[in-house]
């Protein structure tokens, strides 16, 4: 009895501590939601607040709201920060202002995100807090009854059982036995006392009938929970152990994730039938011996779904056991209820683009169990840009489900840097990372002419440069990309070769007073895209930019493609090329964080650039700034 008492006390304390911690952890969210609700109410009632509300959204809250967007949200965050900058500047100067259509659209999106955040909170954290409060109350009532020797009701037994299931980390069955024994021994004297009091009243009233305290309805309260919930749990655990054993594994040795998945099964007898079907009728051990795959089938599939997909797949591969094994190894998810729907929808995409379904499933299995809606959305967008989707699927099929937004962003980057998307002959580059930074690096090495000499081959030339650069780095034991280090470098170089390296190079880190890790982080967190429209806005708002825009940008004497690309992407400081788009992207981010204009411009121009000392001085002089190295934000 003593053991059961201690165990129960320990579990109650543990549960209440967990809830306490949860309340502390979620108090920030609760505070955010209160603030957002105030903003939402003000938005409904105050017409002049429709744009200025953005000033009341703090950066950390903006980050949380942006995270609700699908895909990369950096562009959205940057746009909102820019809007805040515009509003702030104009309000301070007492000027009227009109936001652009796309900025208004972003504000509308932000309003939708506020509502979504509040709803999400109330349906998840908020409702969980309410639910937790109910549990806390139950556990506190149980503790008070035990401390004050009050008689237990059936709900208290259920509460004790819940505590064991949720918080006991050792053998739950033994713990439950000990706790129930303790509760029974605790409750019997109180029950007898209560019944004696009752019978005394009854005898007084009727003066008849003998009393047997154990032949009474309340007595069943003591036994009922043990015969009901705990027995059900014990039966379920036993059945799960039998099922897993039947499939050739030991339940007790499974890892926690698999056990949790199995315990969440609602109808264990259906699962048992399904397990027998898999083993006896489908000879599942021929195709997989992975317990993880089997648990996925047991918990997320059923006989009908499995059979339908199995028929399709085994027909497709002519019952080839080796190939079927591969499918179960890499693509077991297509046999689940959710995965089978995705499979049926995604195979239509493959058929539509006349790709080989057999090969596609073997080579890109997760594509087939992924969200069809997202894939279709991505392909619609790429098609609208002139991408040949069958070729895109050949090159990037396994990347599309998870990284559709990056592919879309890379298309925008290539357009931004003057590539003709419709003429693009290689789509592999669409699946890469840090495309803008790599293009900046090539531009600053003077390779624009080499890349864009023939517009229809620009993509292929870029790709071959990347490959050459990697081989060269391997051969000479050099880092591949400067931008990967997120640090500015100085480099003495003579002549550039077409490997994207100088022929004699000495890498040297920029002196610490010229590099600023805080700035680098700000720049790296920003969007990789900047439109000409945004650049025009920056030029209007920051006159200092005219010093480089008018003085160091190529004049457009002819409208040939190369000149137009150069004019769009290059600044010239003597013989040194600086990426114009890199400069404005970095400048936008630094200015949005309140960095001084002159310092932001110099830092942006030299960011990630390889410069000789005299080149650095020339850039510095051209913007007449002497504040390099100040690191205050």
């Amino acid at each position: 009895m003593a053991k059961g008492k201690e165990l129960l006390k320990e579990l109650v304390d543990k549960a209440l501590n967990v809830f306490e911690q949860y309340d502390n952890d979620t108090s920030v969210e609760a505070f955010d939601v209160t603030s957002l609700k105030e903003i939402e109410t003000k938005l409904k009632n105050t017409p002049e607040y429709q744009e200025s509300f953005v000033m009341d959204i703090k950066e950390d809250v903006l980050a949380k709201l942006s995270s609700l967007l699908d895909g990369d949200n950096n562009e959205f965050k940057s746009s909102i920060s820019a809007i805040k900058g515009i509003i702030d500047l104009n309000i301070n100067k007492g000027l009227d202002f009109t936001l652009k259509e796309n900025q208004k659209k972003d504000l509308d999106t932000l309003k939708e995100l506020i509502t979504k955040y509040i709803v999400n909170y109330e349906t998840t954290i908020g409702s969980k807090r309410t639910y937790n409060n109910k549990l806390k109350l139950k556990y506190t009532i149980l503790r008070n009854k035990l401390e004050n020797k009050k008689m237990l009701e059936s709900e208290d037994y259920e509460t004790a059982e819940e505590l064991v299931i949720a918080f006991c980390e050792t053998d739950k069955d033994t713990a439950l036995d000990e706790i129930m024994t303790y509760l029974n021994e605790f409750n019997i004297p109180l029950l007898v006392l209560k019944d004696k009091q009752k019978i005394e009243i009854t005898l007084e009233e009727t003066d008849e009938k003998q009393f047997d305290p154990f032949d009474h309805q309340e007595t069943s309260v003591i036994e009922r929970p043990r015969n009901n919930k705990s027995l059900k749990l014990a039966e379920k655990m036993q059945k799960l152990k039998e099922i897993i054993s039947y499939l050739g594994f030991n339940f007790d040795l499974l890892d926690g994730t698999l056990k949790t998945k199995l315990i969440s099964i609602k109808d264990v007898y259906e699962t048992e039938k399904f397990a027998h079907y898999l083993k006896d009728k489908k000879n599942i051990s021929l195709y997989t011996n992975s317990i993880n795959a089997l648990v996925v089938l047991l918990t997320e599939s059923n006989e009908t779904t499995f059979n339908k997909i199995f028929e399709v797949i085994s027909g497709l591969y002519n019952n080839d056991e080796t190939l079927l094994k591969k499918i179960f190894r890499n693509g077991v998810n297509i046999f689940t209820i959710k995965g089978s729907k995705a499979f049926n929808a995604n195979r239509k995409i493959i058929e539509e683009y006349k790709l080989d379904l057999r090969t596609s499933i073997i080579e890109h299995p997760t594509f087939f169990s992924s969200d069809n809606k997202k894939i279709v959305e991505c392909l619609e967008k790429t098609k609208a840009k002139g991408i040949r989707n069958e070729e895109l699927l050949r090159k990037c099929m396994s990347l599309i489900p998870q990284d559709a937004s990056r592919i879309e962003e890379n298309i925008a980057i290539l357009e931004n840097y003057g590539f003709n998307i419709e003429e693009l002959q290689t789509y592999s580059i669409l699946g890469g990372f840090n495309l803008a930074q790599k293009l900046d690096e090539f531009i600053e090495l003077g390779l624009n002419e080499y890349i864009h000499a023939n517009p229809s081959r620009a993509g292929i030339v870029y790709q071959s440069l990347v490959i050459k650069k990697i081989y060269y780095a391997l051969k000479n034991n050099l880092p591949i990309w400067r931008s990967a280090n997120c640090e500015q470098k100085l480099l003495n170089h003579d002549v550039l070769n077409k490997d994207g390296y100088s022929t004699t190079e000495t890498l040297e880190s920029i002196p610490s007073d010229k590099s600023n890790e805080d700035y680098n982080i700000i720049i790296n967190e920003g969007s990789n895209i900047i439109t000409e429209e945004e650049i025009k806005d920056l030029l209007v708002m920051h006159l200092i930019l005219e010093r480089v825009e008018s003085g160091h940008r190529l004049a457009l004497y002819s409208d040939n493609n190369l000149n137009s690309v150069r004019q769009k992407t290059e600044f010239r400081f003597g013989n040194k090329v600086i990426s114009r788009l890199k400069t404005y992207r970095a400048f936008r981010e630094l200015i949005n964080k309140g960095v001084d204009e002159e310092e932001a411009l110099l830092y942006s121009l030299t960011y990630n650039s390889i410069l000789e000392d005299h080149e650095f001085e020339e850039i510095k002089q051209s913007i007449k700034g002497n504040k390099v190295g100040e690191k205050s934000i």
Binding site: K395, S398, Q402
Partner: protein
């Protein structure tokens, strides 16, 4: 759920980054396809790859590929280049049709 990745030198911070990077459905592949993930990562290890965090963050799709397909796509290149790519520039594997 993905703690088994620790044996590939992924620390708690790395695991958290992986959890943040992917949605629930995609993370579930690490559970349902655990055997496949382990085989593929072990194969990369045998080639001298050591930076598994970048593989998991940038190209997790390679962990879910058929091992023979993965071997075939890597066999076209020098083993040192493969190790260098995986460790230093996993983001450009796609340019090698990997």
């Amino acid at each position: 759920m993905i703690d088994y990745l620790k044996k590939y030198n992924i620390n708690d911070e790395g695991l958290e980054q992986i959890r943040q990077r992917y949605n629930t459905d995609y993370l579930n592949y690490f559970v349902s396809l655990k055997d496949c993930v382990e085989e593929n990562l072990d194969y990369l290890k045998s080639l001298g790859v050591s930076n598994f965090k970048n593989v998991l963050l940038y190209r997790a799709d390679l962990c879910f590929k058929d091992l023979d397909v993965l071997k075939r796509s890597l066999s076209k290149y020098d083993i040192d280049l493969v190790a260098k790519l995986f460790d230093d520039d996993v983001e450009d594997l796609i340019n090698f049709e990997i």
